[in-house]
């Protein structure tokens, strides 16, 4: 299914790894949980929970400008986490890492701040037809505010971007391109290197929605030459409430601040306020200190297991799932891209996805159903939604087998 050559990596001992995740041991309806909703959020390893506990019991304190010991400790840990994030995605500078609330918040920051500075009436923003609402609505809002137009790269029946249409849409009017690396509802892996190269050739910056990529494939923002890269902590085994915006220094320095408040200023008088330097200019108010620090711990954990080893394990598992699901009669895949990762969406006969989800749930199998915040994709395929199984490296082949059995049982009940 994937066309990428598989690099030999250490084989992961999944049964051992599963022990790191307390929630995976929790039974649901008295049976072992089969958690296949990882694209919505991932479970957390014990080290992440310990890091959280450690923060609150040993050095919880407000950060920045504090003279006292705890504040120094908290600040150091928080800034250390920023360094870890920079290292994880190979950013050139630490101050290119902005702590946000999540992918949605990161994209809103760019849409609003970049838009206010660079979007004029008649300009265009180019997104794709497979974007998550979080990479659609912020652009709709700022386009309306600035009198700009939103243009959309269409997809084909396999759920892939129509790149020939992209070439045509990439006119001089486009001020920014915003696309997802990996589709959360289709599993498609987009050719973002090509997109970035072409956009840059036309002098246009690119935002990559990395919400479904950061946990599955190695990210090197410098190699990709992405101008902005957004992701959420909770989808990469970290806590809820924290996310990252990577932005190139050149752009971030040009953009006006997004929110105002403590920490993001240098000097405040009622007559004139001067803003702080990066990254603080974009971090108003007390940050999610625990969240930032613990996201760092989550990235440490991922790095220790190895993201390429994770990718390999997941690719093999998804290939297995794809093969087994293919064998179910009257099951059809929604999105069948040549290159996929993370999630598999499907429908069975005319069974409503909501009914399928409920019957799977009763068998202790957690999948997601519905439009997955990508309504335009559902409209394109003219369906009410899909059933989506999404995988993490801690999932196993026997869980896939349970999913297949669960679907067969649901079919017997519902068809």
């Amino acid at each position: 299914m994937t066309k990428r050559a598989v690099i030999p990596d250490p084989v992961l001992d999944i049964e051992q790894i599963r022990k790191d995740f307390p929630l995976l041991q929790t039974p649901v309806y008295g049976k072992p949980l089969v958690y296949l909703d990882n694209a919505a959020t991932t479970q957390k390893p014990q080290v992440v929970l310990e890091s959280l506990y450690n923060y609150y019991t040993r050095y919880n304190s407000n950060v920045h400008r504090g003279v006292h010991f705890l504040s120094q400790q908290a600040t150091e840990a928080y800034e250390q986490a920023r360094k870890k994030v920079a290292g994880f995605i190979n950013a050139r500078h630490e101050h290119e890492i902005i702590f946000t609330k999540g992918t949605t918040n990161s994209i809103n920051l760019v849409a609003s701040s970049f838009g206010k500075k660079f979007l004029q009436p008649g300009d265009e923003v180019l997104i794709s037809a497979m974007e998550h609402h979080s990479n659609i609505v912020p652009w709709q809002m700022i386009c309306e505010e600035r009198g700009a137009a939103l243009k959309v790269i269409p997809i084909n029946e396999q759920g892939e971007l129509r790149m020939e249409a992209f070439d045509e849409l990439l006119t001089g009017k486009v001020k920014i391109v915003a696309v997802t690396y990996i589709s959360n509802s289709l599993g498609t892996v987009n050719p973002i290197a090509e997109i970035i190269n072409k956009a840059h050739a036309a002098g246009i910056p690119v935002l990559i929605d990395g919400a479904q990529a950061i946990q599955h494939v190695p990210i090197d923002v410098r190699e990709l030459d992405a101008d902005f890269f957004a992701f959420s902590g909770h989808k990469i085994y970290g806590p809820t409430g924290v996310g990252i915006l990577y932005g190139k220094e050149e752009w971030l320095n040009e953009m006006p601040p997004y929110e105002g408040g403590g920490d993001m200023i240098k000097n405040v008088t009622f007559a004139k306020t001067t803003y702080n330097e990066l990254p603080f200019k974009f971090e108003a108010g007390t940050p999610d200190i625990a969240g930032g620090i613990v996201l760092g711990t989550a990235l440490d954990y991922v790095q220790q297991i190895g993201i390429t080893a994770i990718r390999r394990a997941e690719e093999e598992l998804i290939q297995y799932a794809y093969n087994r699901l293919s064998a179910i009669s009257s099951l059809r895949f929604i999105g069948d891209a040549g290159h996929r990762s993370g999630a598999i969406s499907f429908l069975v006969g005319d069974i409503h996805p909501f009914d399928m989800g409920e019957i799977l749930d009763k068998q202790s199998i957690a999948v997601r159903t519905g439009h997955h915040c990508t309504q335009p994709v559902m409209d394109f395929f003219n369906i009410p939604g899909t059933v989506r199984a999404s995988f993490a490296f801690y999932n196993t082949r026997s869980e896939v087998d349970l999913l297949v059995e669960g679907i067969e049982k649901a079919k017997r009940m519902l068809m």
Binding site: P353, F354, D355, E358, I359, K362, P384, M413
Partner: protein, 140 residues
Amino acid sequence: MTIKEQQDAIIEDFSFFTDWTEKYEYIIQLGKDLPLIEEQYKRDENLIKGCQSRVWLHAEYKDGKIYFTADSDAVITKGLVSMVVRVLSGQSPKDIAEADLYFVDAIGLKSHLSPTRSNGLLAMLKQMKMYGMALKSREL
């Protein structure tokens, strides 16, 4: 039968099921059984759009009672919808407005009434009560 009696009858029916499969098979059967609404009423103004599944609701007022017909595109929801219709249809506006629908919880499908699941069932119930309220006040 009163609303209470209807609900108790449903709860009684469900008490015979020994596992979730039987229970759901019954609900699914209810959902598959009958066309719950005339095709002409399955239009947009009768549509209650949930995030997951859709519900259509039509109400008629006759001789001091409200008669409901309804449908859903998801079969489990439709099964539930048919029970709600059975409970509330043909009752007086006042009784509908004041009804306490405890049977959904009692048969273990409470999650369908979670406000944030928004599968349409809760919205349908609200709509039914609105009809009850509106017609009750007209009667005074």
